[in-house]
Symmetry: C2
């Protein structure tokens, strides 16, 4: 592979939306005291609305709507299911911003830090740019640049997203590796001419819905985590230096 840039899916691949919502949910504003919420189930239900909502945008049923807008609409629809219909409007706005504060998987930053020494590393997310900036700034994700759905006004898996990122990077698609924990994203990236790396995040959807590793050969690379991806791509462990970056191996 003659790869120059890596573009990453973000939700589920870089950040752990389910774990974060499970941890942070109980501290959300406007929660009625009397209601006990299963936050893992709540996260799953909220996330389950995501693909159908984007599909409505992709097929033109809804006009262009960013992920804050979709998350809000889904939230309004699911709150009654959890006895939370009394959560006031202003608090619902805050709940939507929970998706701007998701924690990365523990291996994400060490892996990206290594990969960045050798490759351009960028997001290629269905989240919008403001959300990507918020995630990256809060967690310290070391991106070289951010590609987000609102730059294209399209959602993955539309081919324009993958091809558009290649055009803006000034690279032929085959010099770009799409990294994701989701088969459909990688299949679409591959159809658009990009190389593909599957990162296995078995617990993205929780212990009751463990995702399987795809069969060998379905994608260019299949790895367990970002450091393994860095190993595969020859990105050496970062050396301790005056810049103060700590080698993942010495942490």
């Amino acid at each position: 592979m003659n790869v120059r840039a890596l573009v990453f899916d973000v939700f589920g691949t870089v950040v752990d939306w389910r774990g974060t919502i499970q941890r942070e949910g109980p501290a959300l504003p406007g929660l009625p005291a009397a209601v006990s919420v299963d936050w893992a189930a709540f996260a799953d239900t909220w996330r389950a609305g995501y693909a159908p909502a984007m599909e409505q945008v992709r097929t033109g049923i809804l006009p262009w709507t960013n992920l804050d807008g979709l998350h809000r609409a889904i939230l309004d629809a699911i709150l009654p299911e959890f006895g939370l219909e009394s959560v006031p409007d202003c608090a619902r706005e805050e709940w939507v911003y929970l998706w701007h504060r998701l924690d990365p998987w523990p291996d994400a930053i060490p892996g990206l830090t290594r990969l960045r020494t050798r490759y351009i590393v960028a997001t290629l997310s269905n989240g919008h740019l403001a959300l990507q900036v918020a995630l990256a700034k809060r967690a310290g994700l070391p991106w070289d640049c951010l590609f987000a759905a609102d730059l294209f006004r399209r959602y993955k898996p539309d081919p324009e997203v993958y091809r558009g990122a290649a055009a803006w990077l000034g690279l032929p698609p085959e010099q770009i590796l799409m990294v994701a924990a989701h088969r459909e994203d990688l299949i679409a990236a591959g159809r658009a001419g990009l190389r593909t790396a599957f990162v296995h995040r078995p617990l993205e959807f929780g212990p009751d819905r463990v995702t399987e590793r795809p069969p060998v050969g379905e994608f260019d690379l299949i790895v367990t985590d970002f450091p393994e991806l860095a190993d595969c791509l020859g990105a050496l462990p970062t050396q301790p230096s005056n810049s103060g970056i700590v080698s993942p191996a010495s942490r």
Copy 2:
């Protein structure tokens, strides 16, 4: 001012195109041995073609062309003036990439590093995205995100560029501060509703064309360099820490 994000002009404001071309010019490939070049004059002439070329795109005389394309067309036009018409085609391609390797002004990285601790810091450049990625990666410019002309398919001072960046950041224009060494860029940003900070780079065009400081009050802020901008905006000196970032004051 209730500023949340700073967007920066790049050529002349963050990086020193003239100084870099003067230093790097003699090492460019394909130079005829017999020709002695005044590299400062060459840089000035190349840069002088920039505004008229963009104007042709802005007014629709030329179709959308990124800065590599414009730099190449200007280069082809000016080489004979310097006795360099024999520089071969393949070398000319390399010359254009000199604009991807410009050095930052010495205060740029220390200032940005401080500003980034408190604000979103982004480019808002007429260079294209691939060029911004190359500049940032080579020099270690610590941007949170990159806005570049090809994301808008428009050049500054078109208002769509300033307003587009605000929309993608999810911020009202008045919460964004445009930072530039050029009056016309800031005047257009101000008209689009952004706040404005002029950074005085008196030597951008060389010692024979020293630029003047604008009168007090023309822009929201007028500063000498990026650390002074950080002082004005309350971005404290970065403390030495485990992250190894060195305080500008202790350098």
